[in-house]
């Protein structure tokens, strides 16, 4: 009996916490799909409307921000795949002089991420004329210690015999990489890609510093500019904008929930 009682208590506590966790988002959805007059007035029969989304969309160049973010996250991901693959492959399969030290130095970036060094990195970008460009926003993140680490572990776990067999058949280094390693590491690339895309979709400080025009601003910065400058305090519209900027990731997450969680795990366990 007391066992059952405690089960009920635990379930209740879990649901209470779940409710608290879901509340901010549910609240935002409520505000976004109802007229402003109902944003703080919970009437179940309040009329539904898409008007707030339309107003947010018209009030700021969100279409351009979306384009910038998509270009940014895809560009970063593609560049990361190439650069991290090459480095990880070298570190996993070539016992070259200084490789161990090099790997240790690469891992430093896990702690000292580019956003800690904003002052110097801004100066570097300024010197090469990349301020206010998407390339400038992405460049410091392209060689990712995390990606190199993840792929190196994966490549190391691939049996050496497969590598040797491919070479016996006369495959070059590049061919071995493309035909043996990449196909076997596919799930890891999916995981890394998802983590990278969600990280850079949400990244804020560095793009805020580097960009200063509509043509380069990603969604997060655009949203902040919109919420603090363009808009008075109309919470319905701000909530609509906030939901809109998160929508693609949220929808992807809802559809591929299991894959997402698995990816974060795969990427996190090291």
């Amino acid at each position: 009996m007391s066992e059952r009682l405690s089960t009920i208590a635990i379930t209740g506590a879990a649901w209470l916490l779940g409710l608290i966790w879901g509340l901010p988002l549910l609240y935002a959805v409520w505000a976004a799909v109802h007229p402003s007059a109902f944003s703080t007035n919970f009437d179940l029969f309040a009329p539904l409307t898409w008007h707030n989304f339309a107003r947010a969309w018209d009030a700021a160049p969100f279409a351009r921000y979306f384009l910038n973010t998509v270009l940014l996250v895809l560009g970063i991901m593609a560049a990361q795949f190439v650069i991290c693959t090459l480095a990880a492959f070298g570190l996993a399969r070539w016992k070259f002089a200084g490789g161990e030290v090099l790997f240790a130095l690469i891992l430093v970036q896990l702690m000292v991420t580019p956003d800690v060094l904003i002052v110097e990195n801004y100066r570097t970008l300024y010197a090469v004329g990349l301020i206010d460009t998407l390339t400038g926003v992405g460049l410091p993140y392209v060689a990712s210690a995390f990606g190199i680490f993840l792929l190196r572990q994966t490549f190391k776990s691939i049996p050496r015999e497969l590598d040797d067999a491919a070479r016996m058949e006369g495959a070059s280094t590049l061919q071995t990489l493309l035909r043996v390693y990449l196909p076997l590491a596919r799930p890891v690339y999916v995981a890394y890609g998802l983590v990278s895309v969600s990280y850079h979709w949400n990244n804020f400080l560095w793009p805020l510093i580097v960009t200063n025009s509509v043509e380069t601003r990603p969604l997060t910065v655009g949203l902040q500019v919109f919420a603090s400058v363009d808009q008075g305090i109309d919470w319905s519209v701000i909530c609509a904008a906030a939901l809109m900027t998160s929508a693609p990731l949220m929808i992807a997450f809802l559809i591929f929930q299991r894959g997402f969680i698995q990816s974060f795990l795969r990427a996190g366990i090291r």
């Binding site: 430093v108 800690v116 060689a143 919470w235």
Partner: protein
Amino acid sequence: MGSTRKARLNIHVQGWLLALPAVALLATFTHIPAVTTVLDSLFSTPHGRQPAAFIGFGQYRTMLADPIFWRAFDNNLLYALVTVPVAIALALVMALWVNGHIKGRATLRLAFFTPTILPMVAAANIWLFFYTPGYGLLDQIGRLFGFASPNWLGDPATALPALMAVTVWKEAGFFMIFFLAALQQVPPDLYEAARMENAGRWQIFRRITWPLLMPTTLFVAVNALINAFRIVDQVIAMTGGMNGGGPDNATMLLLFYIYQVAFSFWDTGYAAALSTVLLAVLGTVALAQFFLLDRRIHYR
């Protein structure tokens, strides 16, 4: 003999060539700037025609006498001391719930994890609404129970805790995932054996689950600690843009102060000194992890 030596040389060259693009980029955006930051902190900020001059520890003397720096430092320490344990404890509880046979576990998992996917800026703007004095949800609930409505973000006493709540809300679900994975690796026969011995829930957790989760807890703690010292999005989005930092600098944190000093006051020398402090903090966390914790858990 000659050809094997050549082949061996070839291996070194190929290895370095493969790593070269990554090495060049990492050096440009991580290692070299880290070193120049430390060096720059020993110079004054150049003004117009007046170039930077070597002033030794001058910037650090300014820092020691700067109440805003101390505010940021203390706030950040407090931020880490509160958010890291709370987020980890909640993450663990969430994982235990979602891993068990609780009703509606899929929905619960979704509710817990969703904040992780939201951009911090979007989440911050939603929470801003949440905290609005007068008609925000928190006040409406408070009024229901007859509490007076505080100005959560406007009052120096509540502004920092209000930001902490957002951080815990955002991070707990993310950490939950790691505990969940670890829980699924616990051999089920351990639990069966414990049940045969009539061990209670708490005993099973204390004697079996908790010790087996230790490596995960440490891993999560290190990551949470690093994050806590790099928090800045909430401060910008929730307590007043570039010149903000909250009422009476109540939400001033290290990275935000660096951002403000560098890009609002354009005092790059002082910003370099502040960045050096942040680097030192992160370095300390790294060293602690390296020496105190079992290395195999993390990097092999």
